[in-house]
Symmetry: C2
């Protein structure tokens, strides 16, 4: 925990007790939404890697929950903007939440896509050698999401930067998985449609890594008031630690 | 033009002349950003379909412009929130803009990806039969983006619904292109890596269609005050025309 974390009384700083509660409530609900999405991703990766049909179905049917949480939280943020007219870090918190929930909802969509691909694969009879690296890749991306949500929970900018940097490894794991899949396609062209389903699942995992990184960028924006999208990891790290040199 | 359009004096309704100007300025800049992204997409599709190397390079090098417009517009929206504390339709306009620019930026990223794939294809010597349906698919998706931007320009909810519905056709065009590519892979496995680049380009086009549809949903939200994400096209159409029955 660094000095940048949100637990230093952020939600007690307003004269209005109710305003404190409203902001804290939004923060809590974002984390709850994140928890559901994280579970979706865990289930989707298990469904894909271990061939678990029940988990695949659970992921697909639970997406509506994430969708309605997104709409509810958007409304809650809009209400705070109207009633409280927040400024400075309060406003940044609301704006960071508005953006975070969009990425969380899209991560849920990608998890649903992975679950759907797992189900297609299970429905077919043809056997295909699984790609060994897929499990490690899925775990890494899930760890990134968990790390991003930890950074949101504590609003810890330095932790956010460390998590964002893990996207480099995710991208290279993705390239390895893709290469293995193409090698298999060349060897057994009759398995191409089936392998393409695994390609889509891998692509979804790669996108989830990107979105976890987006969430980390919003944390840095909230804590430091600095927009670090479209900057390098080095630049992002300097902003997160407050070192502008 | 319907009664829902923004040209009925929306930007003249505030007592503060400067507030009118600020909102109009944000609206104009979103459209300018949209124009750049639309050009990127047009160039990317030409680069991919006609094999135009120069256009591919133009798309790749112009992405920074879109990125900085996104950051600038986000800041402009935050300033309006702080200084003007907008409510009702003003607030909805700002929130719709915040979401629209995120999708526009990501459409720019997808266009850049298409340009990059076109460049990879041009750098290789191996000849591959092009997929005839790719050109029509690219044009359709570009028309969707243009339509979505028209809906933003006029803030026309009914037009937005018509454009969103075109995503059904985009999805089926995508399936056809994908099937053709997989057929070619099976026939000539040695071309798989090259064909995978075309698969990614097709996937990017499909995602651009999804994002154009998102933008249409924000227009309905602004005009009607109703969040139509995660609803059916029929439901969306009823909300856009104000028919709740």
């Amino acid at each position: 925990m660094t000095d940048d974390s949100i637990d230093q009384g952020f939600f007690k700083q307003h004269i209005s007790h109710q305003f404190n509660e409203e902001l804290e409530d939004i923060h809590t609900r974002v984390l709850a939404m994140g928890g559901i999405v994280e579970q979706q991703l865990t289930d989707a990766v298990s469904a894909m890697v271990d061939g678990n049909r029940e988990l695949a179905q659970t992921v697909i049917t639970s997406d509506y929950k994430v969708n309605s949480l997104e709409v509810e939280l958007d409304e809650a943020c809009t209400h705070v903007l109207v009633r409280r007219q927040p400024t400075a870090s309060d406003l940044r918190l609301v704006m960071a939440v508005v953006k975070t929930i969009t990425d969380l909802e899209r991560i849920g969509d990608e998890a649903e896509r992975i679950g759907r691909m797992a189900l297609y694969l299970l429905e077919e009879d043809r056997a295909v050698a699984p790609v060994a690296e897929m499990g490690a890749f899925g775990s890494h991306v899930r760890d990134m999401l968990r790390g991003a949500l930890d950074a949101v929970a504590r609003m810890d900018a330095e932790h956010a930067v460390r998590v964002a940097q893990q996207d480099i490894q995710a991208d290279s794991q993705y390239e390895v998985v893709l290469q293995r899949l193409m090698d298999q396609m060349k060897k057994s062209p009759e398995t191409i449609p089936r392998l393409m389903d695994i390609v889509w699942a891998a692509r979804s995992m790669e996108r989830i890594g990107d979105r976890a990184r987006n969430i980390c960028e919003y944390v840095v924006y909230f804590v430091r008031g600095k927009d670090v999208r479209h900057t390098s990891f080095d630049q992002m790290a300097r902003e997160a630690t407050g070192d502008r040199g």
